[in-house]
Amino acid sequence: MSIASPPPSNETIWLTQDRPDAAELGLCVHCGFCLNACPTYHDLGVETDSPRGRIALMRGLDSGRIEWSPRVQQHFDQCLQCRACETACPSKVPYGRLMEATRAEAFAHDKWPRRQRIIWRLIMRGLFPYPRRMRLAGYGLMIYQRTGMQAIVRRTGLLRRFAPKLADIDELSPVADKPFYANKEAENIRPSHPVRGRAALVTGCMMPLAYPETHRATVRVFTRNGVAVDAPDAQVCCGALHAHGGDVEAARALARRNIDAFTPESDDLPDAILINAAGCGSHLKEYGHLLRNDPDYRERAAVFAARVRDVHEYLVEIGFQAPRGLIERTVTYQDSCHLSHAQNVRKAPREVLRSIPGLTLSEMRKPDKCCGSAGIYSVVQSEISQRVLAEKMEDVLATSAEQVCTANPGCMLQLDAGIARFDDERRMMPRSTHAIELLDESYRLGDQVQDP
């Protein structure tokens, strides 16, 4: 019988401090419990594309047994980072962290094709960190959509034929929703007495353009519940996409700017740093880890991270008012991976939905299985993403729901694309929603009934 011997650490393979932690790699006892939870293992049917397999590959690199070949890199690239494996793992292997660390090393090693690197730098470093450029891009998108160009592009299918990647982006692009959200708007609404707390809203990079109403609803809902909400204007993109992709330097730069924007004074901190996008929320909660080696920001990052609350989480924490307005609708709730698996928030969104009079929650099979959006995955790995989405839509359409509700803009865009493609009977509302919008609607309907 051959018995495993301890792996030597191959010091030469890792270039940065962000390398996968050897002790964390060692936590995996390869029990295999993660396999069936993994969407890519389910889809591709090979263990190289399973969480256990990818960890073995990381260990193989660490011990010098294997080369970092393009094939190995592909297995890392094909990971959705949905972290369903973390929920399944009895050893609590921090897989998401290990994968981010591996991607950070891949970034440092320049493992990507040249074209991908250039596009990354243009978009992720040149566009996302700058709110004003994002807004310009938003106007551009709006012109494209409102002049009917998008409709022509989609109808003719020319883009699909000549630039399928661009066609994917087009299909998943949000409807640029004017008026875009302005951070100053939050100041205009103040709670009537008594004020129970003070929150700072993270408005993010894309939400103000694509889902401004979600932000407006968030501010109204918390204001009504006695929380004064502000949205610091100096804030920038949270950097989640950068960290997931391995561009940790860019992620750290953004994190520092946000820490300065949200917690300028250590003796005057908001009670909560509120976020209504699950992917951003889970990353914001990791700021302490991200800046653990930065002596100037380490402590402030930990303080920041400890105050981050997902909107559902905070609503339940403060005990929200029961809404009274009737919404007679059946919805199904898709757990955003970064809310359920990464932040372990599962009950709160359902509690919010169930509080709404007339609303029925029809649960789908495996509601916490990824929809295939996964940040920019839906564009970069569009084939796998589409198959994962197709399975998700089967489960969605098997419910009696008229609308999908979820907790992250990426998931909303992906599910909207899914509804457009798979809901042949047109039984569902074309746009998915966020629980906070439904709660806001119910509050407002309740007010109308009371004072006609």
């Binding site: 018995i3 792996p7 263990e47 009895p90 050893s91």
Partner: protein, 484 residues
């Protein structure tokens, strides 16, 4: 870079490029299962249907290559390891539930179906698939059939062999045979019984007709907390002796609680020496009556507390603590060696004492979480492979514990199979003549020498030192510390 071999090419021709994995770095992830052993396959074949299996077996035969079937690789006896190299047949892509016949309470499934997915499908028809190994979230029906898997609920329902009615088998000759019948009893030899638990040594199972059972209308799960292991094991004996057959009767000791509790928050008290998890199910009235009787018996042994889960969520929570126990041990030490012995239930207290004594003598922490009602022990020795000599100490201690079980009138496996890990213990319970008889049974299925070699039968029985040599070869290739 390695170029493909003629066999790899032939496999690609037979079942397609997407179904063959052969690069060195990719093979790395197929060298382990849930144990501490390793085996190095030359190639992985991932069939999509029975025809693919037939075709790839023909290729393997042509090149005289060993074949090792693999489901999810969650096994705990090294059954899915390609010890002699050759072809691993990954059955995970054959994962369709082909039919559920609710009226006759059967389901026809492919071997790659995950145990819990079958359970969920059965539930939609008001039925259940009874065998529930702790790895049921990931393990496959094919693997369950190969190892005759059990689980907490086998106390009342029996192991996998009691739930397989018929199966489709691809033999070593590459022929497809249906064995068994959808009726419960078939005239003639019980061939299905021969295949279930044969650990992939007689052929490849490509379809399984399983029996489903009615879902109990009521369930009561009790947690009893004790200040000594002996009290807890005496309570187990008393419950069994009372004539009541609980659906499950599990024991979890202090070390296991220490691993599980901080991660899963199951509510097991950290300072208890042992807790029992007892479940009764059936019609409402029966559950009420039996539950009360069981509670009375548990209370006779001075528990600190006996409480019942009041809702399904609480029940699931308690079970999560049991079923997640093995993986959670990674929190205490990086490696574990999980044993699987069976003893007569009356011997439980003495054998458990012996297990703790052996572990102490070898300076190894031991965690026990096991199917007490069946007398099926799972001592889990914890160690750190980085510590020089630790692995050898663990293997020696494991051998002693196995010996202890055999001497108490028990056996070397309850539900994990003999596999690679315990094949050398087989002579402890069988004579040479017994083993020869088993081998002639295996031979009756055809030229099966290449089917999962080096499993079940001890060294020198058609396998020799080959597995070990293969490992030596790998060590020579990558250096002594190169195993992941």
């Amino acid at each position: 870079m390695k170029t493909s071999t003629p066999m790899v090419q032939a496999l690609i021709d037979a079942i397609g490029e997407q179904a063959v994995v052969w690069h060195d770095d990719d093979l790395l992830v197929y060298e382990y299962d849930g144990t501490i052993d390793r085996g190095n396959p030359d190639v992985i074949a991932l069939p999509a249907n029975t025809d693919d299996v037939v075709n790839l077996i023909k290729v393997a035969n042509k090149y005289d290559a060993p074949v090792t079937p693999r489901g999810a690789g969650t096994g705990l006896s090294g059954g899915a390891l390609a010890v002699k190299g050759g072809v691993i047949i990954g059955m995970n892509r054959m994962r369709n539930i082909l039919n559920v016949d609710a009226e006759n309470k059967t389901a026809l499934v492919q071997p790659g179906v995950v145990n819990l997915d079958l359970g969920a499908e059965a539930e939609r028809h008001g039925l259940a698939y009874a065998p529930d190994p702790s790895s049921q979230r990931a393990c496959t029906i094919g693997g369950n059939v190969a190892e005759n898997a059990g689980g907490p609920h086998t106390l009342a329902w029996g192991t996998t062999t009691n739930h397989v009615l018929a199966l489709e088998l691809v033999t070593a000759d590459g022929e497809v045979q249906w064995i068994g019948h959808e009726t419960r009893d078939e005239p003639g030899y019980d061939l299905v019984g021969c295949v279930v638990g044969s650990e992939g040594t007689v052929g490849i199972v490509t379809q399984v007709l399983v029996r489903l059972v009615p879902r109990p209308t009521a369930v009561r799960t009790m947690l009893a907390v004790y200040d000594s292991v002996r009290q807890a094991s005496n309570a187990v004996s008393a419950v069994v002796a009372s004539g009541i057959v609980p659906a499950a009767l599990e024991m979890i000791d202090k070390m296991t609680i220490a691993a599980v509790e901080p991660v899963l928050n199951t509510g097991f008290p950290l300072d208890a020496e042992a807790v029992l998890l007892v479940e009764v199910d059936g019609p409402e009235s029966q559950v009420e009556a039996e539950g009360a009787r069981v509670e009375g018996i548990l209370n006779r042994f001075e528990p600190r507390e006996v409480r019942s889960a009041t809702d399904p969520e609480e029940r699931e929570h308690l079970w999560a603590g049991r079923k997640g126990a093995i993986g959670a041990l990674g929190q205490i030490m990086p490696n574990y060696y999980l044993l699987d012995g069976v003893v007569p239930r009356t011997k439980l207290p003495d054998v458990l004492d012996g297990v703790y004594e052996i572990a102490e003598r070898y300076r190894l922490p031991v965690a026990n979480m096991f199917h007490a009602g069946d007398g099926n022990l799972h001592p889990c020795l914890l160690f750190d492979e980085l510590e020089p000599g630790a692995t050898e100490r663990v293997l020696d201690a494991g051998g002693e514990i196995m010996r202890l079980c055999v001497e108490a009138g028990g056996a070397i496996t309850g539900e994990h199979g003999v596999g690679l890990e315990k094949r050398d213990y087989l002579p402890w319970i069988f004579t040479e003549a017994d083993m020869d008889t088993m081998k002639s049974l295996r031979a009756a299925f055809g030229p099966t020498e290449n089917f999962n070699p080096c499993k079940i039968f001890p060294k020198g029985h058609g396998c020799g030192e080959a597995g070990h040599q293969h490992a030596q070869h790998q060590i020579a290739k990558f250096g002594p510390k190169a195993f992941v």
